[in-house]
């Protein structure tokens, strides 16, 4: 028995992934199948799921009403989610890259402290942190008070920004929330680059800027790709940030799904939206990783 195990590499591998496999099966595959099945169902008058096969939920999502009309409501929600996720990801990359670069180039002793500081905010509960942004962004909030005070000092008149609740507030909250998930993988890939490669570039005649474009940036792309996936995927499905900072105005796919399960009591439609969201995410990430290569940094982060 042990002898066979020793010789059979395949069996060894199977044994090693067995716990994960069971876990994934119980908590991912089965629920996924249930969701998939439910998404073709319908809602009974008292809010229960009727299991059947109908594409109505999907048709409703893309705006086709049973009466043959067109209602772009859900498409707008999907579009809003996509744009917000893209905007968040791009802003996060722009902010995270310089920071990650700075940390990676700091003296080795300082690096750990800096990374630690990046992670400190994560100790506070996510919801509380997002609520804190209300205090900052609302019309009588910290931001407007400070700017108003400064403008007042200069003798001007300041019309406070009405940032909360709004889509901009949601964007700010998301960028804030997901920044660490971009910093870490970019840092990892930057830190991994052998210092002698920078020296080789300089030696061959590249100044700092050209070294960055030709060596640093391409070699840190795996980190950017990994970070993008770590940010884009959760952002497109999130509902808490938009709930808190968007008031009732900013409805994203996440909010839509949540409401189908809780308020509207239509799990079938919620399931269809979930499957749709998943496919959308899958397509975007697939396209993206095909295009830019897949980052091993996901694992590292």
């Amino acid at each position: 028995m042990i002898q066979t195990l020793r010789e059979n590499k395949k069996l060894q591998g199977l044994l090693l992934i067995l716990p994960t496999l069971l876990w994934m099966f119980g908590l991912l595959i089965i629920p996924l199948i249930l969701t998939f099945v439910t998404s073709f169902g319908g809602r009974s008058a008292d809010g229960n799921v009727i299991y059947r096969f109908s594409l109505n939920n999907y048709l409703r999502l893309i705006g086709l009403t049973p009466e043959g009309g067109f209602d772009p409501l859900y498409l707008q929600i999907i579009w809003r989610s996509l744009t917000l996720a893209f905007q968040t990801t791009i802003l996060v990359i722009l902010m995270a890259y310089p920071l990650a670069y700075f940390i990676a180039r700091a003296p080795a002793k300082r690096r750990n402290t800096l990374l630690f500081l990046v992670l400190v905010p994560l100790w506070t509960n996510f919801v509380i942190r997002i609520y804190a942004w209300i205090m900052i962004l609302r019309t009588q909030g910290v931001l407007n008070s400070v700017i108003g005070w400064l403008v007042g000092l200069a003798g001007g008149h300041f019309q406070p920004f009405e940032l909360y609740p709004s889509q901009s507030a949601v964007l700010i909250g998301m960028v804030y929330e997901f920044l660490p998930f971009m910093i870490l993988p970019i840092y990892t890939s930057l830190e991994k680059i052998d210092n002698s490669l920078f020296e080789a570039a300089a030696d061959l005649g590249a100044n700092a800027l050209r070294t960055f474009w030709r060596v640093t940036l391409p070699l840190s792309m795996p980190g950017v790709v990994a970070g993008t996936i770590l940010v884009f995927v959760p952002v497109i499905g999130t509902f808490i940030v938009s709930d808190i900072l968007g008031g009732r105005q900013v409805i994203l796919v996440g909010n839509l799904i949540q409401r189908q399960f809780l308020d509207a009591r239509d799990p079938a439609f919620g399931s269809a939206a979930s499957i749709f969201l998943m496919l959308m995410t899958l397509i975007v990430t697939l396209y993206y990783t095909r295009r830019f290569g897949f980052g091993e940094e996901i694992a590292a982060a």
Partner: protein, 365 residues
Amino acid sequence: MAEYAVELRDISKRFPGPSGELVTAVRNVTMQIRDGEFFSMLGPSGCGKTTSLRMIAGFELPTEGEVYIHGKPMGKTPPFQRPVNTVFQNYALFPHMTIGENVAFGLQMDGVPKSEIMARVKQALEMVRLPGYEKRRARQLSGGQQQRVALARSLVKRPEVLLLDEPLGALDLKLRKDMQLELKKLQREVGITFIYVTHDQEEALTMSDRIAVMSGGVTLQVGNANEIYERPNCKFVADFIGETNFLQGKVTEQNGKAVTLALAGGLTVHAEAEQSLANGTEASVAVRPEKVNLTGHAGAANQFTGRIVSVVYIGTDTYYGVRLPGDQLLRAREQNDRPDSRPMAAEGDEVTISFSTQAARVLTE
């Protein structure tokens, strides 16, 4: 045209150490490297070879002193503006580029036109005997091949000086020997000044026009292979390059170069010295094992009887350990060139050994 390709004038380099104190890596080093020369820096690990090389390349700035390249003081000139190129010990090939892109990189940085780049890359790869490897990636090549790509990448820029930091360190012995010959040949062909760092004395001796022997951050001796081997100027050099016997004694007489010393056990040695020595000076006499004859010579200046304590056969040669009166040990190396090649003596035998005055050098440091 300046006299020297590279000149280090009284260079020192200190690094901040782990607990704030300064560590001196290089101390008052002065070296003059001639144009077109194959110049080696040789020394044990940590003696400051890499640091010296990096100061020439511009990766480190000297704490004191100045680096001159073709007579121009380098000051704080950054690496990318110096007319030198480096072949790194770990090759440092760009992993995200093909071999062709790696080699082309330096030319692109110089703004060489595209058509010319293609031709020069091709030519450089042919020169290092890797024709047609443009499309491959670095990790698909063996260590020796990567080494050659690194070489091509530097040489394609036609630098005035090429710096090589233990470029063969990672290769196995056989490949290293081949590459040594190839490098030497290449250097002659392209006529570029090579500054070569190694801790392998044999490598330095076979390849270099001149060698600087370094230890503890200072240069001990600069000279060609013959000078360094035959006329070491200190005990460290005598010991580090090849093998040496040291006999301890006191100077009793000096007459020009000829010095007489009294050893323990009542022996008298006739040796040569470059420096003048006061009578009574403690000194070492360095004698190479191969210069010691196991059979006495009637006319030899130095002739002692001793007892064989060890016989070590190493194929081409045999080492005989001889204990002299006064308990000094001397190793003699004899070639096994006789047809029967039986050992000349066995352990416990009494033998008379001899060596000439020229074979014995007096060293005080």
